[in-house]
Amino acid sequence: MSPAGLVAEATNPIIRWEWVVEESDQIRAAIVEHLTLTVLALALGIVVSAILTALILRFRWMSTPITATTSLIYTLPSVALFALLAPVFGNLSRWTAVLPLAAYTLLILVTNTVAGFLSIPQPVRDAADGMGMSPIRRVWTVELPLAVPYMMTGIRIAAVSTVGLVTVAAIIGQGGLGRLIFSGLRRAFWTPMTVGASLSILLALTIDAVLLLIAAWLTPWQRRKRTPES
């Protein structure tokens, strides 16, 4: 009735709490690994996307090749990409997982950051120049802060999708909570799968909430908009 034991008949409950208690160390390690992969991938993605964004803003013609490349990466199936990189970096290297994860964030991060800088009203730039700000000062003290809301939106989307993709990295022996999910599926033992799945969802929601708070804290002017009397 079931194919080759991958999904065996479930004669076990969705969750067995004794297992959770017994394996709490393994679960904790999986969470830490999941978080580590997510943060590393995101950090690398942010650094690379910052460079790409700077290139696009400086040389507009670079917009097309950069967007095309990052879009292409984004369309690659993640399982295929992990599988292809495994022989290059070795199955057990963390970078085998981090590099593709970071690559996937680029399209979202670059698109949002560029949009952030392009959203800055020309009069604001004009005023900054007219007040005697140097271009470098203008970028750091005016343009960057004003691009932050867009950048944070990009980072939130990228973070949530990375948390999801990390689970897939389990196929190359990485993947934090993904490993719990896969091992549960393989053994037709639901508990690790349930734990892995629900914790990865919880992790995604938590990271999103934390980033939302950080964004609000970074952009106090965004909170207090109202339409005043003249």
Binding site: R125, G130, M131, G132, M133, V142, W221, R224
Partner: protein, 379 residues
């Protein structure tokens, strides 16, 4: 042409030309202009006349192709653009406040860059807030929380922060509604009496230029000055057809907006003291050929009575005090424009407005007075 102002020229443009890349004609062509220290010069003209380009060459946001621009005798090209701009106030139509900085932070932009210490910056911000008529409570708000008019005041305060001798304003009141615009214009004039900056104002609005400027450079497409004149000269004797068309058919009416009631020759009108006798009353009525009589009580204007009422009272042995004079429907102040006075007279459906000079009777204005004043200066 410079001769007259040679001693107190703040900004001098000599043969300034700007040709943009890929454009066949010049945006500004061989422009020479002297701007007197402490005066307001309006660069007026249709779009494409190079007025904004001219303004932006003064603070080097645009570099001239050729020619020379000096501020207080110093060639602007000899200074670094940043250093130069920190010494020139700059106000633009869309204000361009920094949305992520509080009002306080916005006003402090240039002093912060100049490295002023905190206390000095703070004092200056407070001072400017009062100067431009902003509520101090707004200082810790963000620009998006302010109205257009308030934002524009912040823009002016920010431009004045480091007390620059020169202020460049590019259509500063173009984005606010007409009522707020008029108020801001009044405030600017009021401010100017206190700070005496050399202001270069770009505008396409004839009325704004007439209201604000000491002198107007009316520019035409291609960056040439068609006429350089005081507002009154520009209205009275347009140099050519372009100027005539640009300032419009209602030049006479516009000139009314330039003259104040207080500048008219004093006109007593059919006015008598409340103690006046009949003979005196009849004499005034005859001279002024009026059916109405204004009654004063000391320095105050008490109101109007009709000639018939006055005669009737006198005939029964009474005095003007026995009548109850009607309060005037139209009264103006010496600082009001002739245009305002005329409008008031028309709207109130009377023929005369009483001048109220701080509670004292200051004479009357009739339509005839207004007409005569235009003829007198309009040689």
């Amino acid at each position: 042409m410079a001769g007259r102002w040679v001693n107190d020229v703040a900004i001098r443009l000599t043969d300034v030309t700007k040709t943009f890349d890929g454009s066949s004609g010049a945006a500004v062509d061989q422009l020479s202009l002297d701007i007197e220290d402490g005066s307001i010069m309006a660069l007026l003209g249709p779009s494409g006349c190079g007025k904004t380009t001219t303004l932006r060459m003064i603070n080097r946001l645009i570099e001239p192709t050729s020619g020379r621009i000096e501020i207080n005798g110093v060639d602007v090209m000899s200074r670094s653009p940043q250093e130069l701009r920190r010494g020139i106030g700059y106000v633009i139509q869309q204000v361009g406040l920094f949305p992520h900085r509080t009002i306080r932070g916005n006003i402090a932009t240039v002093p912060d860059m100049l490295g002023w210490d905190k206390g000095r910056v703070n004092d200056r911000v407070e001072e400017l807030t009062t100067l431009v008529g902003l509520d101090h409570e707004l200082l810790d708000r963000y620009p998006d929380e302010l109205s257009g008019g308030q934002q524009q005041r912040v823009g002016v305060a920010r431009a004045l922060a480091a007390d620059p001798p020169v202020l460049l304003m590019d259509e500063p009141f173009g984005a606010v509604d007409p009522i707020v615009r008029t108020r801001l214009q009044d405030e600017l004039l009021d401010l100017q009496t206190k700070v005496r900056k050399t202001i270069v104002l770009v505008t396409h609005d004839v009325d704004e230029a007439l209201r604000l400027a000491d002198r107007i450079a009316l520019m035409n497409v291609g960056g040439v000055v068609e006429q350089l004149a005081t507002p009154d000269e520009l209205m009275r004797s347009p140099a050519n057809e372009f100027v005539e068309r640009f300032v419009g058919d209602d030049r006479g009416l516009r000139r009314l907006a330039l003259n104040m009631v207080g500048n008219l020759p004093f006109h007593q009108g059919p006015i008598v003291a409340h103690t006046a006798h009949l003979s005196e009353i009849e004499q005034v009525l005859a001279i002024e050929s009026s059916d109405w009589l204004g009654v004063t009580n000391g320095e105050r204007f008490a109101g109007w009575v009709t000639a018939d009422e006055a005669r009737a009272t006198m005939a029964t042995g009474g005095t003007l005090d026995d009548l109850e004079p009607r309060p005037p429907v139209a009264h103006v102040e010496p600082s009001d424009t002739l245009r305002a006075a005329m409008e008031l007279i028309m709207v109130s459906n009377s023929s005369v407005a009483v001048i109220d000079d701080g509670g004292r009777f200051g004479g009357v204005v009739t339509l005839e007075d207004i007409r005569r004043s235009l003829a007198a200066t309009g040689s």
